[in-house]
Symmetry: C2
DNA sequence: GGCGAGATTGACTCGCCAGTCAATCTGGGA
DNA sequence: TCCCAGATTGACTGGCGAGTCAATCTCGCC
């Protein structure tokens, strides 16, 4: 075989994906040109099309890669029977916030260009996004059955409110609507859980 | 003056705006062509540019018109000293849900194309959108000062969670993630307030 | 009845950029 | 050393659609 080391090919592909994250985060998916990605990656224009069928596929890849990690994390949390529902939600909130802390550009791209892009990409990945809602709803449903949560609200609704609150906070950080210092990250995890589980009402 | 009845000009303009709502809701802002708007309005292509400087300005106009109504509604609710904070939030949730019931296409366009379009239009109108968050945060802050709400969470955070929950529910209706029958609309108002104020925890 | 300001028309221009492709390079195997 | 599959290059094309503009129409006024 005359194929170059397949490791190197994978690295080039990765290099393009990483460059895409930077460019998408900086300029937005629709505003940037494919040549911007190639330039950022230090690679010729055409090579992007050697590794990906289209500009769309680059973003799809970034999203699916990361979202599958998120889904796996939620499933793992849910499987831990020793955790109360409140702690499970805490763990999920924590995972998402830590994802943002670890790679804010990637999370920005996923939220801004996919999750919140209800037309273009959000619509295409609706089923995938919905999986996360459903998993969270399942946790709520079990907690309601066991009496840990009240049954005043449907699980589907609770899941939407929970996920919506987290996403809104990340969006707040992304667009400087909310202070985003390191200590705010940890506080946010508590705030989300406290608000959704405990409510705003005085005790 | 040789100007045609200014009433008729205003009506033509309105006609174009209404057509734009239909087209944007159906096809999305980026996917539709200006000629689609003109066709839907039963008007020549060029006339759109007689009344609006650009395609963007059409959407800007739709958003600002409606958002100002929302801001006015929130201010009015807030000004009513006889209302508890919980009731104020209930009234705001109700107003938004009723807006959706009354004109789902318009609300879809505003949410999908502006409010959640964090890059393009969402960014342009960030300050305007933020006004709503700030108004809600103010209500929370006063309730915390009076002891109605606990101080466990910052007002800015509570406002984001509250607004995020409502928007997520509307998004759920828009994309059929959540049942959207008439009775669900009224239930949703209670759910949002119940979740944010009362929390999921069993009493 | 005829004038003219503004309304209305729609064919056309023009820039942009995703995607193509033929040419060139490179490195591992024989 | 030579060969060639696959990697890499970047100039080029093709289509699309926003915005322009000169021509035409319409209606209120004198």
């Amino acid at each position: 075989m005359a194929t170059r080391n397949p490791r190197q090919a994978a690295e080039k592909r990765r290099q393009i994906l990483d460059a895409a994250v930077v460019v998408f985060a900086r300029q937005g998916f629709h505003t940037c040109r494919v040549s911007d990605i190639a330039d950022e990656a230090g690679v010729a224009y055409g090579l992007v099309y050697h590794y990906f069928r289209s500009k769309d596929e680059v973003l799809d890849t970034l999203f699916l890669e990361r979202w599958d990690v998120l889904l796996a994390a939620i499933r793992e949390v849910d499987a831990d029977a020793s955790l109360a529902a409140r702690d499970k939600l805490r763990a999920i909130a924590s995972f998402i916030v830590e994802s943002y802390r670890h790679d804010p550009d990637l999370m920005k791209v996923i939220i801004v260009e996919v999750t919140r892009a209800a037309n273009s990409f959000g619509r295409r990945h609706l089923a995938k996004i919905r999986e996360a809602y459903d998993l969270i709803a399942e946790i709520v449903a079990k907690a309601q059955a066991s009496g840990e949560f009240s049954g005043a609200v449907t699980p589907a609704f609770a899941a939407l409110a929970f996920y919506g609150a987290i996403e809104q906070v990340l969006t707040g950080w992304i667009f400087d609507l909310l202070p985003g210092a390191p200590e705010d990250y940890d506080q946010a995890k508590d705030f989300v859980v406290e608000t959704i589980c405990g409510g705003l009402d005085a005790a």
